[in-house]
Amino acid sequence: MTKDPDAITDTVTEAELRANHDKLNHDVDPDYVIKLIGMNKWYGDFHVLRDINLNVHKGERIVICGPSGSGKSTMIRCINRLEEHQTGQIIVDGVELTNDLKNIDAVRREVGMCFQHFNLFPHLTILENCVLAPMWVRKEPRKQAEERAMAYLERVKIPEQANKYPGQLSGGQQQRVAIARSLCMEPKIMLFDEPTSALDPEMIKEVLDTMVQLAEEGMTMLCVTHEMGFAKTVADRVIFMAAGQIIEENEPHEFFNNPQEARTQEFLSQIIGH
């Protein structure tokens, strides 16, 4: 991928920086569904995301990895505004994320998200979890919403659990419900924030299978995960982050077999050693 953003160093002037951003912004490739341009974020004084530049094509599958605390989750959480960025631009499906609530709503309608801890609504049944947003956000009639919910539950292979409560399901089942719940809003982009990290080893596969199936259907996906097997088989591109920056990005084969940066090599040797 383009190394242009990385070429920006401290020596460039403000004007050059601006021009570069404008160029990126105006060369809108209609294929880009997500563009992060010079995005920075701070938690108080802590500079957690540093000059992040990332373009994502429609249908592209991206795996983001890196040590804990490197800002991977924070970055994808910025894409649907669960976290607010302070400088730079985030443009999702042609809509720029600003403080404008209309834009935030528009982006969230197009972007689904799965969390490490599933975050199903424990007081609602599986089916109610799935129809809630379509009925209240998209004003769909219950019947139509339920039909679609059942179709997606079928796809994640747990239609028979529809009338149970989340607390009665295993972790793997809960995560698959969470995926179905997001899909019920028919998003163009799916974000996965460590979807298998809280699961028992026996349940990781069923969730990964669901994600692979989704990838094969052409969904645009950004996954923060430590499942390198998933990255190798599914990803179009692997992004390595450390200390709030994108250190390296490449297609999976090159990334794993021929990492360019020392930090990447160190990280890969750590996780593959086990």
Partner: protein, 366 residues
């Protein structure tokens, strides 16, 4: 070579010694100390319970219509019987008391089905009992419309006044409390500050002084002609006071809901109000049902304080009857009766909350 794994058969648990005698042996006489304590307790109960029963029932007087009928050594329930109407209706005009009875009936129709799991239209009945019911009963009791002669609120009293105060207090304090609790957790500094100030102000003063302010001082500050009834002022005072407590109970529940719930709701496109109304509040309120009911019960009993601003609730009607020279030495009977009335309603609320908790328990059930 593959091992051959044979699943062991599931066996029933061992038969434990059961039956009442085993229970007594295991629980009351399982050690020397516990034997001594059990015997001591039985001795104390033997000395306390029978005298109470003989006072309340066996030696009590039930028949008659004045103090002279009370000849036994037990309770003089004649007093309660003769004054019962006063305890229930206060000074409500006698010819109009059917309106109070009808109100009691409506309240029962609205509330009793809530105790039964299978009753249809329970939700609508619940909604009606917090919206329609206060309006209908209010119109019925106040009168002045539909050919009903008006009954001044200073004539209201007894159990009926207690129920009016606590029902309005409960129905109004819960939504106020929810709004205050949400406001206190708001990200908008002004909203948060206003809510914190409101809660801390009302929580920091005794209810007695709130009632005094409402009844004595408020009229001094209001312009002429703005005076409204003492009952309404007491109602507003009680509602404000209890909603501050309610807000803190509910805030406890809100804080117990993981942040992930709000994030999941936001990621699905639900805005603040929907995320609160559909996701956070249902879970938070369920968690703090015991605290909410605790506040309701406290509110119910605190209504007795309206006595000091001259409203005659049930306790006040009992107290004013006790000092009647025609009835001497019936204080115990009066207070026992008042206590019993309070206990019935508080116990009912407690039972209802337990049933509600069981019914709503879905989150952690495996």
């Amino acid at each position: 070579m593959m091992g051959k794994y044979v699943e062991k058969e599931a066996l029933p648990p061992p038969v434990s010694t059961s039956g009442p005698i085993a229970w007594v042996r295991d629980n009351l006489f399982n050690s020397p100390l516990s034997t001594i304590l059990s015997l001591l307790t039985i001795y104390l109960l033997w000395n306390i319970i029978p005298p109470i029963f003989s006072w309340a029932f066996f030696d009590a007087n039930f028949a008659g219509d004045n103090v002279d009928a009370c000849t036994g050594t037990g309770a003089c329930w004649v007093f309660i019987k003769v004054r019962l109407n006063f305890f229930i209706y206060g000074f409500y005009a006698e010819a109009e008391r059917w309106r109070v009875d009808l109100s009691f009936l409506l309240l029962a129709i609205a509330v009793v089905p809530q105790f039964f799991d299978k009753f249809p239209y329970k939700m609508w009945l619940g909604v009606a009992s917090v919206t329609l019911l206060p309006l209908i009963v209010g119109t019925l009791l106040i009168g002045g419309v539909l050919g009903l002669p008006p009954v001044e609120t200073h004539q209201w009293g007894g159990l009926m006044l207690t129920l009016v105060l606590s029902y309005v207090g409960i129905v109004a304090a819960l939504p106020f409390g929810v709004i205050l609790a949400l406001g206190r957790r708001s990200e908008m500094p002004t909203v948060r500050m206003v809510c914190v100030a409101f809660i801390e102000l009302w929580r920091g003063v005794p209810l007695i002084s709130v009632l005094f302010m409402a009844s004595v001082m408020l009229p001094l500050f209001l312009p002429d002609g703005w005076d409204f009834q003492k009952l309404l002022r007491a109602l507003i005072g009680i509602t404000m006071f209890q909603s501050a407590y309610m807000a803190e109970v509910i805030r406890g529940g809100l804080q117990a809901i993981p942040k992930g719930q709000v994030e999941a709701a936001a990621a699905l496109g639900l805005g603040y109000w929907r995320s609160m109304g559909l996701i956070v509040l249902p879970q938070a309120l369920k968690l703090v049902i015991p605290g909410i009911v605790n506040t309701f019960i406290a509110l119910f009993k605190d209504t007795t304080l309206v006595l000091i601003i001259g409203l005659l609730d049930i306790l006040a009607t009992v107290q004013s009857s006790i000092v009647d020279p025609a009835w001497r030495g019936v204080a115990a009977e009066g207070y026992v009766f008042a206590a019993f009335c309070f206990w019935v309603f508080c116990f009912g609320m407690s039972k209802y909350s337990q049933a509600l908790e069981r019914k709503l328990h879905t989150g952690h059930k495996r």
